[in-house]
């Protein structure tokens, strides 16, 4: 290691030699950085699961524009909107087709007696073009009364049920006083939103939710004509519809608005965001403490180097070298432990928590930045190294 760093730096790797000389301090420092990384990874993982859950239902849709109630917060946490808006929208130039989407939470009691909540989506089965290919291929079968597609990741659902559905079986169950039959599975992932999801026809939906009416869906999905930009049609719709009561957004904008809402308005988003901040703060404090103590312990040696003619860049280089070593050595165990904890969390809760390269790179760069910042603060102590005091 020393030889490699000597080769890379073109000088003795003082920072590394200093850190590695005191093994106990090095282990404590690396553990501290790893712990801070772990904190950040866990918060980001859960926040990522929250975000993933929020926009997961969009994967079931194939739509250009979504019209929803201004009272709604997200796609699945929406207020009802008059179906008449759909007909108004169809009259706007550039709108090719439209369909209502019904969304509701269906309580369901599992065989073991535990209650789960199934987020249910009611589509017009005559318009498979508004759903993802996976759902579209089964949508015709959902025209049969009370048939549904069941999310295979539904929490608490016995594996035998999913296996039976995979092999062409049926799974009848009663929910909200109505007997439904799952005929196939789909893969969406409920996460934070619900314990699982169901896709059904709008007619089955209305039977399962007797209080709902066909005239008040949750969302209206639109397709635009070929060659017409979504933004142009959105602008036309906003001019034609009462925007004080309806929101008109492109699909991507709608998904982003949902994410923004969950991260900034929902307590969960704020809590996990705060957790990330705390993790970074813990890392900053640990690295600062290690580096500033290290500088203080070596003041006479630094003063000697100053007397020998070494300038400020040399000392900054040592401190930053230490900061980078701590960042790298702390990141790696933090990453490995986090991957293990993600797997455990996913197995226990079913939350879609998984490590991805962009998050790992982001945290590594953040660790480097935080360690460098700590190092920069710690270098203020170097000013106390006065070579005149050596005599």
């Amino acid at each position: 290691m020393s030889r490699l760093l000597t080769y890379l730096f073109g000088r003795l790797p003082i920072g590394w030699l200093q850190l590695s000389h005191n093994k106990a301090r090095l282990i404590a420092a690396v553990s501290g950085v790893a712990f801070a990384n772990l904190l950040v990874f866990m918060q980001l993982g859960i926040m990522g699961a929250l975000n993933g859950s929020t926009i997961a239902p969009y994967a079931m849709l194939n739509t250009d524009i979504i019209i929803s109630s201004q009272e709604g917060n997200t796609l699945t946490d929406s207020g009802e909107i008059a179906r008449a808006r759909m007909f108004q929208a169809l009259g706007v130039p550039g709108v090719a087709d439209a369909t209502p989407l019904y969304i509701g939470n269906l309580p369901f009691t599992l065989a073991d007696g535990s209650s789960v909540s199934l987020l249910s989506f009611g589509f017009d089965v005559a318009k498979p073009g508004f759903t993802s290919p996976e759902i579209a291929k089964s949508l015709g079968e959902l025209a049969i009364e009370n048939t549904v597609l069941l999310d295979r990741d539904t929490r608490g659902m016995p594996a035998s049920v999913i296996e039976a559905l995979d092999t062409g079986g049926r799974y009848p169950f009663e929910a909200n006083g109505n007997t439904l039959v799952a005929i196939e599975t789909m893969n969406v992932g409920g996460g934070f939103l619900a314990d699982g999801m169901l896709v059904m026809s709008d007619q089955t939906f209305l039977r399962s939710f007797p209080a709902r009416t066909s005239g008040a869906p949750d969302q209206i999905l639109l397709h635009v004509d070929d060659g017409v930009s979504v933004e142009t049609v959105v602008d036309r719709l906003r001019a034609a519809l009462p925007t004080e009561s309806v929101k008109i957004q492109g699909t991507d904008a709608s998904a982003q608005a949902d994410l923004d809402f969950m991260s900034s308005e929902r307590p969960t988003g704020i809590i996990f965001g705060f957790g990330v901040f705390m993790g970074i703060l813990v890392g900053l404090v640990i690295v600062y403490q290690v580096l500033s103590t290290d500088v203080a312990d070596h003041l006479s040696e630094y003063a000697t180097f100053k007397a020998m003619g070494y300038g400020q860049p040399f000392f900054l280089g040592i401190v930053f070298e230490e900061a980078i070593v701590l960042a790298i050595f702390g990141f790696l165990p933090g990453l490995v432990v986090s991957i293990g904890l993600y797997a455990g969390l996913n197995a226990v809760t079913g939350l879609p928590v998984a490590m991805n390269a962009s998050r790992a790179i982001l945290v590594f760069l953040g660790t480097l930045a935080a360690c460098t910042l700590s190092g920069a603060i710690a270098t203020r102590r170097l000013a106390a190294a006065d070579p005149a005091d050596l005599f």
Binding site: R11, L12, M308, L390
Partner: protein, 239 residues
């Protein structure tokens, strides 16, 4: 062309503190130190000898008067100029101040690497050679924690001399050494003066090495009270 007097001090006054606490430590000092000489500064504690050493060594800013070091005026010199000049000097401290995480040879290498990148093999050869000269060839890869006090001081001497400095400033370099080791170190400095024309200014209370000095300057209360030099090194320079 090298200066005859690499250190020239004229009308030097120095003060510590400010306001009512301001205290004068040096009074109108005038000294010219000849190239290649071994000069010893003596005097009781508080006489100002260490202050003189730090002023000559670019470790402290000159308040009043002139100190010319290797042709460069230090009064009002910039920090960058001071740092640059220091790289041409060698310092030997009473406390060895070796870096505890560097081996003996690595500590000595630090004395070379201040001059920038060079052939690492040549640098290591030079460091090994000077460690041989101070009798530590078998301790090159030892950390300071595994060396005796005398051995550490010899490493510090090797670190100060390895880059062939123009001037060596030493503060009680033999205090931690036994008689033989102390004599060896001072003899080495003396030889450097004769062979390489390295100038040495040393603060010491060690009477054992006075016989090797070319010049002995005694300070008291910030003033020169005695200044004697051997005739072999030529006439005494004009103050």
């Amino acid at each position: 062309m090298a200066e005859t007097f690499p250190i020239r001090v004229a009308g030097l006054n120095h003060f510590f503190g400010t306001g009512e606490a301001r205290k004068q430590a040096l009074f109108d000092l005038n000294l010219d130190i000849k190239r290649g000489s071994l000069t010893v500064l003596m005097g009781p504690s508080g006489s100002g000898k260490t202050t003189v050493l730090t002023l000559m060594g670019c470790l402290r800013e000159v308040n009043e008067g002139s100190v010319r070091l290797l042709g460069q005026e230090l009064n009002a010199a910039s920090e960058a100029q001071m740092v640059s000049l220091r790289s041409r000097l060698g310092f030997i401290f009473q406390a060895h101040n070796l870096h505890e995480s560097l081996t003996a040879v690595q500590n000595v290498l630090m004395g070379l690497q201040v001059h920038g990148a060079a052939d690492p093999a040549k640098q290591r050869a030079a460091a090994n050679h000077i460690l041989d000269l101070v009798g530590l060839s078998d301790r090159r890869d030892y950390l300071p924690g595994n060396l005796s006090g005398g051995q550490k001081q010899r490493v510090a001497v090797a670190r100060a001399l390895v880059s062939n400095p123009d001037i060596v400033f030493a503060d009680e370099p033999t205090a931690a050494l036994d008689k033989e080791s102390g004599h060896t170190i001072v003899a080495m400095l003396k030889t450097l003066g004769q062979v390489r024309q390295t100038t040495t200014v040393m603060v010491t209370h060690d009477n054992r090495i006075l016989e090797m000095a070319d010049r002995i300057i005694t300070l008291e209360d910030g003033r020169v009270v005695a200044d004697s030099q051997k005739a072999a090194h030529g006439p005494r320079p004009s103050p």
